[in-house]
Every structure is written in structure tokens, then in C-alpha cells.
């Protein structure tokens, strides 16, 4: 039990970062397709099972892994060339380490932190590694010995310099408001209420959250700030010379970086793993009530899902009968979950702490995937910023705004504290 609980956040980090990549790629494709009035991936299958198209992204990953590893002969700095993608990948991956997935769990007087890296310096760690990620891009662009690649790398570095400042400064105003740099304490701060709203960062600090979200987009090189790739201008930017899994690492790194910034935005601005208004001890005390709510929710959603699937899963592949299998799985899983939950809801077992932890994982996951949706939605809505516009936005607008926000926040916080 002890080891399991200590290893759990590490496993979760792996799950949230690596295992979600195929799902993210699938989401990207499906959402893009639906936004553009298309269908998206629906062919690739394993004996008739398509999982709604996720098999396609798994197939793509396999292709990248098994492709020939070639090395362009003009490259002088082989070592840097090879190290660059892994640098981008590793730093994207490491940013995830500080995200708290649930409140600190206390069982038998022992507390287990649900952060992979139990530190209070979460925000600083995030800033450091998010900044390091761009070194992978710069190094790759420079070592590629290619005009387009170096252009992409220069763009990426200039962009990061500009936006990192605004990002850091917008975080400063957040830190002043919360009065802490520990991500866990930030989350528990957000369970209070602010007038009638939950005291989420988004409502307390709207300006800082907009600045942070915009800079997070720029930091992860996602559209509309993907001038570093800019395939319409500079071929593929920094990864022009990369192929096979070396390209795959850059590709995965982008998604993990997106997931990590999404997770940080959830933690700082959207109340993290907590439900609005409710803090952990309230959750533990009212756990039965919440379970009944979840049971009702599970029944309704699975029924809705089954109806939706009956309407939409019409294009049959050869092999197993997909609709039938999914229906059985969904019904079976729902019944199993309801049985387990009602066992605890009726008061037979006592595992409120663990139950609340699982609930908080679920809340965090839902919020995280909502943010993934937003990231993807923005990408397929906005065209790429022109390069000078990116710089202007960063230095002329976001930087002064975030500076002003710090002063205003400081004045308000001092005023409120003085008033009290």
C-alpha cells in the first residue's frame, strides 16, 4: 500500500503525459475534422475495432518508431543533432512532474503527496523546464545546418524570450493574490468562494489568466503562435531535417508540453483537482451524497452515449461487431461502477479518503481534457500570427499589461489586508 501510494503520482505523470498523446492526436484530428465539416479518421482498425479512430494514431506512432533512422550527411554536429529532440521531449515531460493530481492523502497519520515531485516550488520548476524546452528547438535548428531550420529556431527563441517575461510577470500577480508558490496551497485557496463565483484564478485574476493562457500557447509553439514551424513560409522550421522517431520526439514533445501547460492552467486558474466551493474535508464528510450524484450522472451519460453511438456508428468494418461490443462494455462497466459505488454509498465500506482522491483525479482529468479541447479549438480557429505581430503583441501589449496588473494586484491585496 505504502509503495503503491508513493509510486502512484509517478505512474499518473506517465499516464497524463505519454499515454494521452495518442488520444490527443486523435482529438486533434477529430475536432479539426468536425470543425471543418469533415469526418476525421475512421478506417484504421484491429479486427473491426476502431475505438472511434484512436487506432489510427497508434498506427501512426508505430510507423514513426519503425521508420528508418537516417542521418543527413551534411550534418557536422551529430551529437547535438541527436540530442536536441530528446532535450525537447525530456523537458516537456519533466514540466509535468510538479502538477498535483489530488490533495495530499492522509491514511493512518501518514500523508502521501500526489505530486510526482513533492516540492513547494512547483511554479518555478514549471517555468524553468518550459523555458528549457525551447533549447531543444534551438539546438535542433542550429545543428540541422539548414536555413529553414535555423530560421525556425531563431523565431522560436525570440518568441520565447518575449513571452516568457510576460508569463513570469503574470504569474507574479497570481502569486501575490494567492500568497504562496506551492501549487497545492493555490488549489486549496481556490475552493473558497469569491462573491458568488468559485474563487478560481480565472475569476479573481481575469487579466493575468488571459495573459498566462496566451503566453502558454506561445510557449508551447501551438497555433496561432507556431511561426517556428510555419510550414507555409519555412518548410517545417526547426524539424525540417528530422525524420522517423527523431521527428516523432518533437511531435510528442509538443503534445506533452501542451498537456503540461494545460495542467498548470487547470491548477492555477481553474481550481485544480477541486470541485468548486468544496474543499477536501467537506468532500470526505459528504462522500455518500457525492457518490449518489455520480451514480445518477453515470447512468445518464452512458445512456446518452449509447443512443449517440447507435445513431453514428453506422459505417461498419469487417470483423467483430463494434457497436455490440461497445454497448456491452459500456453497460457492463456502468453496472460494475454503480455496484461498487453504491456499496460505499450505502455505508458498507469506509474508504472515503481514497474515494475522494479518485474523485479528484477524475475532476482534474475532466478539466485537463477540457483545456486540451480549448487548445485544439483555438488552433483550428485562428490563423497563424505574422512574425512581427507576435513580437508586437508580446512586448508592446502583454508585457506592459502584466506589469500594470502586478501593481494593481499589489495595491488591492495590501488594501484588503490593511482593511482586515
Amino acid at each position: 500500500m505504502n509503495t503503491v501510494l508513493i509510486l502512484l503520482p509517478l505512474v499518473l505523470t506517465l499516464l497524463y503525459s505519454l499515454a494521452t498523446v495518442p488520444v490527443l492526436v486523435w482529438m486533434e484530428r477529430r475536432i479539426a475534422a468536425l470543425i471543418q465539416d469533415r469526418l476525421g479518421p475512421n478506417r484504421c482498425h484491429i479486427n473491426g475495432i476502431r475505438l472511434g479512430g484512436i487506432i489510427q494514431s497508434i498506427a501512426d506512432m508505430m510507423k514513426l518508431v519503425f521508420k528508418e533512422e537516417f542521418l543527413p550527411s551534411h550534418i557536422k554536429n551529430r551529437f547535438y543533432y541527436l540530442v536536441a529532440p530528446s532535450l525537447a521531449f525530456m523537458s516537456a515531460f519533466l514540466t509535468f512532474m510538479v502538477i498535483p493530481y489530488a490533495d495530499t492523502l492522509t491514511i493512518n497519520e501518514q500523508s502521501y503527496s500526489m505530486q510526482a515531485l513533492p516540492t513547494d516550488l512547483g511554479v518555478l520548476w514549471f517555468l524553468a523546464f518550459a523555458g528549457l524546452g525551447v533549447y531543444g528547438i534551438i539546438l535542433g535548428g542550429w545543428a540541422s545546418h539548414n536555413k529553414y531550420a535555423i530560421l525556425g529556431a531563431i523565431r522560436a527563441s525570440a518568441q520565447v524570450i518575449g513571452y516568457e517575461v510576460a508569463m513570469g510577470l503574470s504569474l507574479v500577480s497570481i502569486l501575490i493574490t494567492y500568497g504562496t508558490i506551492s501549487l497545492n496551497e493555490m488549489v486549496s485557496y481556490q475552493t473558497q468562494s469569491f462573491f458568488i463565483f468559485p474563487a478560481w484564478g480565472l475569476f479573481i485574476q481575469p487579466l493575468a489568466s488571459i495573459i498566462f493562457i496566451v503566453t502558454a500557447f506561445a510557449e508551447t509553439n501551438r497555433a496561432p503562435f507556431d511561426a517556428a514551424e510555419g510550414e507555409s513560409e519555412i518548410v517545417a522550421g526547426y524539424h525540417t531535417e528530422y525524420g522517423a522517431m527523431k521527428f516523432g520526439l518533437y511531435f510528442v514533445a509538443e503534445y506533452i508540453a501542451m498537456a503540461a501547460s494545460g495542467a498548470l492552467i487547470v491548477t492555477i486558474f481553474l481550481g485544480g483537482y477541486q470541485l468548486p466551493y468544496l474543499n477536501t474535508s467537506e468532500l470526505i464528510n459528504n462522500f455518500e451524497l457525492i457518490l449518489w450524484g455520480i451514480i445518477a450522472f453515470a447512468i445518464v451519460t452512458s445512456l446518452l452515449f449509447l443512443r449517440w453511438m447507435k445513431q453514428h456508428n453506422i459505417f461498419a468494418m469487417s470483423g467483430l461487431d463494434e457497436t455490440k461490443i461497445y454497448t456491452t462494455v459500456v453497460i457492463g462497466f456502468t453496472i460494475f461502477a454503480i455496484l461498487v459505488m453504491s456499496y460505499y454509498a450505502l455505508g458498507f465500506g469506509d474508504a472515503n479518503e481514497v474515494g475522494v482522491m479518485l474523485l479528484q483525479f477524475a475532476v482534474f482529468t475532466i478539466k485537463l481534457f477540457f483545456l486540451h479541447f480549448v487548445f485544439i479549438w483555438v488552433r483550428w480557429t485562428l490563423p497563424r500570427f505574422r512574425y512581427d505581430q507576435t513580437q508586437k503583441l508580446g512586448w508592446n501589449i502583454l508585457l506592459p499589461l502584466s506589469l500594470a496588473n502586478i501593481f494593481i494586484t499589489a495595491i488591492v491585496v495590501v488594501g484588503v489586508n490593511y482593511g482586515n
Binding site: I31, L34, I35, Q36, D37, R38, L39, I210, Q311, H312, F315, W377, V378, W380, T381, L382, L393, I397
Partner: protein, 172 residues
């Protein structure tokens, strides 16, 4: 006079902070997303090859065919080499021969079109003085197992049916 003064956009405060335009754009895409998620049956996507296109008209440039004469169903081509000359891909191969039945002086003995080289530009159809070559077959997918399968010879080209009203050559 003919000058239309267009108002310059992007200078008002509302436009400068971008957010308004960003959110209205996101509203549009979200509308598409939710509508399509709720009911995907309205999507114009064609699940080819299970569903076939229905909008192939006689003017669609499909695989070539050689037309026949109305009087006796014989080949309309007079082996004038106009099509082969016009062809930018240089993929028409003609060997001319004397025509014995007295209808004309010449006819092709060999008429090969290499569809792997053809760019489906339709210049051959434009060039032909006898309306002997047409691309109104409506065939949009050409399938073969080796390169030779894609070289359509005279017999094959003569056997392809057209989908337009005029079946025979219209040349006088």
C-alpha cells in the same frame, strides 16, 4: 469615378485587443463542432469507395475513348497525329496505316495512350479534327496490377462507352 474607398480595419480599440474577434471566431467553429457532433449525417464527406460520387457529368475529364462512325460503327480516327502533337505529356503513340474500306485514306494501326503519363489535360480532345477521341467515359479510377495495364490500346479505347448523349463521332 470608379474608385471605391474601403474603410481600413484594425484601428479601433476593439479590434486592437483581438479578443473580440478571437471569441467570435471561436463561436463560429464551436457551432460547427457541436452541430456536427450532434448529427454527423449532414456532413458532405463521401465514404469512398463504399459511396460513389454522383456528380460525374459528361464534361468530366475521365479516361479517354475512341469514338465510332455513325454509318458503319468503324473507327472515326484518321491518324492525323494532331492529338499526339498537342499532348504535353507525349503519351499518345500512333502508328498509321492505309484504310482499305474506302471511307478515308488513313486509320491508326496502333493507338496507345499511357495513362500513367497522361495528365488528363484534355488537349488531345481539343485538337482532334474528327471528334475521334473523347474523355467523356466518366471513369475516374484506373486500376492495374503492373505498368503495362495502364497502357490502353486501340481495341480497349474503342470498347469504352461514353456517358454523354452523343455516342458516335459528330464529325462530318
Amino acid at each position: 469615378m470608379g474608385i471605391k474607398v474601403v474603410e481600413r480595419h484594425g484601428n479601433t480599440f476593439k479590434e486592437k485587443i483581438y479578443l473580440h474577434a478571437v471569441f467570435s471566431g471561436m463561436k463560429t467553429t464551436l457551432k460547427h463542432f457541436t452541430a456536427n457532433l450532434r448529427d454527423a449525417s449532414n456532413l458532405p464527406t463521401l465514404c469512398y469507395p463504399e459511396q460513389k460520387p454522383t456528380d460525374i457529368t459528361p464534361r468530366y475529364r475521365g479516361v479517354h475513348r475512341l469514338t465510332h462512325r455513325k454509318e458503319d460503327d468503324s473507327i472515326a480516327c484518321v491518324a492525323c497525329f494532331m492529338c499526339a502533337t498537342a499532348c504535353p505529356a507525349n503519351c499518345i503513340e500512333i502508328v498509321a496505316a492505309d484504310r482499305e474500306d474506302g471511307r478515308d485514306e488513313k486509320m491508326p494501326q496502333v493507338f496507345n495512350i499511357d495513362l500513367l503519363e497522361c495528365v488528363f489535360c484534355g488537349y488531345c480532345v481539343e485538337a482532334c479534327p474528327c471528334d475521334a477521341i473523347r474523355m467523356d467515359s466518366g471513369i475516374y479510377s484506373v486500376i492495374g496490377e503492373c505498368r503495362e495495364d495502364f497502357i490502353y490500346n486501340k481495341a480497349k479505347l474503342l470498347s469504352i462507352q461514353g456517358i454523354s448523349k452523343e455516342e458516335f463521332s459528330l464529325a462530318k
